[in-house]
Symmetry: C2
Subunit: 325 residues, 2 copies
């Protein structure tokens, strides 16, 4: 949860006056998301989200993120759409930060994901990958293999204090992934969401009603997005992988975009990599807590267990996907 930046009521009224949204009626900080400051902004035109981009989002990436949302929404993918002011621009500055007013999406994120939710996520992810094929901008995944090495180096000296033996295990894991990571040309690539966790997917009565938070989106292997989602959606709270949920997610995906044999075989490796990525960012946040900060860091241990699980999986069948005859 996070609201980092206060917005003056006078600044708010001035902002809203730059749009065709009628008068400002209400603005409340939202206790969701940890990267940006989000506000529920109600005007005579209805509810919208006002996002102030804090320092973890690079200003030079914003045209990619906002452009992607506009591109996807124009193709019928349900995601927040940046609203243009009367000057035609969606991106502007509020309280010294880049900011945008974004359309409000109906739905509630599932606190206890079921197989039905997982199927919804798989189908939506395939839609996203398909709708983004003709998006013109590119953004490298700065939290892929090279980024993990940097993160590991910055955590290494404190890792064993967090959990004895962790430093050596992370080093071995990173080396194994570096040796085996797929060649850029080996697997289909495109724009991925890269952070499709339950709190970024909304549902209404079990029907997926939208996907939010594109601020990690980038160009990478499409199957890596599935690997992130398997980690985020298909483990139970006790750490066990739920193969029914895995099957639901993967089968819904392959109905729209069949996986190549190379993708099916690479899935455990990609899932290990995705687990390492979230383990490292959580470990970094855990070790670098700001005293008095309003964001409670998430426990890295959860992703250590997931990473270990994936080491024992042979291919996508281990996640429940039945190979077509």
């Amino acid at each position: 949860m996070a609201v980092y930046t206060e917005v003056d009521d006078a600044a708010l009224e001035a902002l809203v006056a730059e749009y065709d949204l009628g008068r400002l009626l209400s603005c409340k900080g939202i206790a969701e998301g940890v990267e940006n400051s989000n506000f529920l902004l109600v005007t005579e035109a209805g509810p919208h989200i006002l996002t102030l981009y804090e320092k973890r989002v690079k200003a030079e990436d914003l045209p990619f993120f906002l452009g992607l949302m506009q591109h996807l929404a124009a193709r019928g993918f349900i995601c927040p759409t940046p609203i243009a002011g009367r000057d035609g621009r969606a991106l502007r500055h509020v309280a010294g930060r880049p900011a945008a007013i974004i359309s409000f999406l109906r739905g509630v994120w599932p606190r206890r994901p079921t197989a039905v939710h997982c199927a919804g996520v798989g189908a939506a992810m395939a839609d996203l990958h398909r709708c983004a094929t003709d998006f013109g901008l590119r953004r490298a995944n700065d939290l892929s293999l090279a980024g993990w090495g940097n993160l590991l180096r910055s955590c290494q000296s404190q890792a064993d204090a967090f959990s004895p033996g962790l430093s050596a295990e992370l080093t071995r894991e990173l080396e194994a992934l570096q040796a085996a990571w797929p060649d850029p040309a080996a697997l289909p690539r495109g724009v991925i969401h890269a952070d499709m966790f339950p709190d970024n997917v909304f549902f209404l009565e079990n029907r997926l009603s939208g996907v939010i938070d594109f601020y990690f989106a980038c160009n990478d292997m499409l199957a890596y997005d599935l690997a992130v989602a398997l980690n985020a959606w298909c483990f139970e709270r006790d750490g066990a992988f739920n193969v029914t949920k895995g099957r639901a997610l993967l089968e819904a995906y392959v109905r729209s975009r069949p996986l190549t044999v190379a993708e099916r075989d690479a899935l455990p490796l990609l899932a290990r990599g995705a687990a390492l990525r979230f383990l490292l960012t959580r470990l970094y946040d855990w070790l670098n807590q700001v005293p008095g900060a309003m964001v409670k860091p998430k426990d890295p241990t959860e992703y250590l267990q997931k990473m270990r699980f994936h080491r024992e999986v042979a291919n996508a069948a281990g996640y429940g996907l039945e190979y077509a005859p």
Copy 2:
């Protein structure tokens, strides 16, 4: 800011089904308020606030708080109104906590209050005092003189570590207030808000659009409510009292309910008491921070300076109120 309690999406849908509000469309935690968990709940009937009452609010006080809001709203005072479910009840349980769905109030609280805002607050406070005169329930002010003694005792041993000499100053101040505090019969009494801070008063384009957060409301001297508001609205960020704001607030109040001479004379004493009350609760919260808690405690020092200021004020004229000829 606070969202303490997570509400399950299934529990939410079950809750909304108990009301005539149509289907659930969205629910987001609000990063405002520190006592309760608040959510912006959007249904087909529009936006509402879902409040889960956390441990600082006593369950036995809820009929007073909810009843007061219903009473005031029925008399045209603009405040949130508890919504009754189809069974006629407004108070129910969600996630193991007492909970209520409350009407959504338009407006934005002023980040930089002006004299215009202060005049709005003075007028609204007089309206509140008037509308509440025939409210049938009673609630003692547990954060008045006796409560301050308890708070001081629980902070005393650590007060000097926070600020050298603070323990003795607080003891002297409490003793002075105990010696001089008005007799219950000496000043007009009634239901007061007791926490009318800027973040509890909404405005739309400089017009007051509503008052929220009645969870400190109680029966006490009406002028004590003014004393709380003078502290909360009329000091500048550098600690100086702004007599223009004080005058605006008090004159707007007395246009609806003139102050007795005893009230005018007691105002500095009541303002010292109100400053001590917020100084003590802030000091208590400061000294009892929960590591990793999502609420950032407010600096007690601000109220120490205010308390010292009020000691030098002779009567309401010191706050800008001109005595009628």
